[in-house]
């Protein structure tokens, strides 16, 4: 199985990876609801295998201003993970988390600048969402997964996504993206990108008994 390519893995096991994404995102939604203290609905996550060139368009254009949370994953599997969402959605979440302390309306929030406090709150949101996602993956596969402290980036979608794309680029020509739509008062789109190395893919699939 050592020479399995990304292409083969995803063709054969896309359903399994979809289900993993589904459960991970579901767990993350529950965590999000608990954190901001209100009901959060989630659409069925879309799992897509994209060409690098399609990536920007998928998340609303390469120049879309977004907030990315990026962290390393260690333990039985190695790699990294990114959670990315529109900056206005992020501001909305931060405002909820801080009980409206930003003091801006939902209309104004689109242009709200992120200061130190907002970044710190957003890191915490990212920490909890990605932690919940990885927890689901860990308990399903019985593999040890340790996330690092998250890093925060606020920039154009294309620039942020170049980081996971380059990581996928080491062994593939495509990127696996899990899109989840959360909604509370407004709808927000969030995207998970899990980037295990090839060996870890095999470990995950073996642990699930499908390989």
């Amino acid at each position: 199985m050592k020479d399995l390519s990304m292409e083969q893995i995803t063709n054969q096991y896309l359903d399994v990876l979809k289900e993993l994404g589904n459960i991970g995102a579901g767990n993350a939604t529950t965590a999000l609801a608990q954190m901001i203290g209100c009901k959060v609905d989630m659409s069925v996550p879309q799992v897509k295998l994209l060409e690098f060139s399609e990536l920007g368009a998928m998340v609303g254009g390469e120049e879309q201003l977004m907030v990315g949370i990026y962290l390393q994953v260690e333990g039985d599997i190695e790699g990294s993970m990114m959670f990315i969402l529109e900056k206005s959605s992020a501001a909305h979440l931060v405002n909820k988390l801080m009980c409206g302390m930003l003091g801006v309306t939902n209309e104004e929030i689109i242009n709200h600048e992120f200061g130190e406090m907002e970044c710190s709150a957003m890191k915490e949101v990212g920490n909890i969402i990605t932690g919940a996602y990885l927890n689901a993956l860990s308990s399903l596969t019985n593999l040890k997964i340790y996330p690092s402290i998250p890093q925060l980036g606020i920039d154009m979608a294309g620039a942020l996504l170049s980081v996971p794309a380059i990581e996928f680029g080491l062994f593939a020509d495509k990127i696996l993206l899990v899109q989840t739509q959360f909604s509370d008062d407004i709808e927000l789109d969030g995207y998970f990108i899990l980037i295990p190395d090839m060996e870890s893919y095999e470990k995950i699939l073996t642990a699930l008994g499908v390989m």
């Binding site: 060139s53 920007g56 790699g79 920039d155 294309g158 170049s162 080491l170």
Partner: protein
């Protein structure tokens, strides 16, 4: 001007003097723009990784600085540019997060920039200007007629190199 051609990750485009080429939201990737000043024919390649020889999965030539630049030169010459007159400008190679993933991806932006310059030097294509490194993304537009390479970043004034 007639048209602005959009180039995605691991892709290239060439054009005549009347057109322009853009690539949106460059992060750690590099946009290498070359042109023949006499004819105004130029091209741009959007590379992701420094070196095709370091990686087993290297069939996608445009993903790498070394093979990507080779192909870009080939394409602009095919379009009618004079090989000996070619000049280059490069932008991108930012470090978007404080750590860069696995050990071979640490400072990948910086390594992309170095690899691009090395390849251009090998091919004896002079680098007239560069805007690389830092920690922010860049949208670039290349006008091969004038050689202007316009760079836009979030929250910063537009610049032309």
């Amino acid at each position: 001007m007639n048209e602005v051609i959009k180039v995605g990750m691991a892709a290239l485009a060439v054009c005549n003097a009347d057109d322009a080429i853009t690539t949106l939201g460059l992060g750690s990737c590099i946009g290498i723009a070359i042109r023949d000043p006499a004819t105004g024919i130029g091209g741009l390649v959007h590379i992701m990784l420094p070196d095709s020889t370091e990686i087993r999965n290297n069939e996608n030539r445009l993903k790498f600085a070394d093979t990507g630049i080779e192909d870009l030169v080939k394409e602009v010459v095919k379009k009618g540019a004079n090989r000996s007159r070619l000049v280059a400008k490069i932008a991108g190679g930012a470090q978007m997060f404080a750590f860069g993933g696995k050990s071979d991806l640490i400072r990948v932006g910086e390594r992309n920039a170095l690899a691009s310059k090395k390849k251009l030097n090998e091919l004896k294509i002079p680098i007239l200007a560069e805007d690389t490194g830092e920690t922010y993304g860049r949208t670039v537009i290349f006008y091969p007629k004038t050689g202007d390479y316009v760079i836009r970043s979030v929250g910063m004034p537009e610049k032309v190199i």
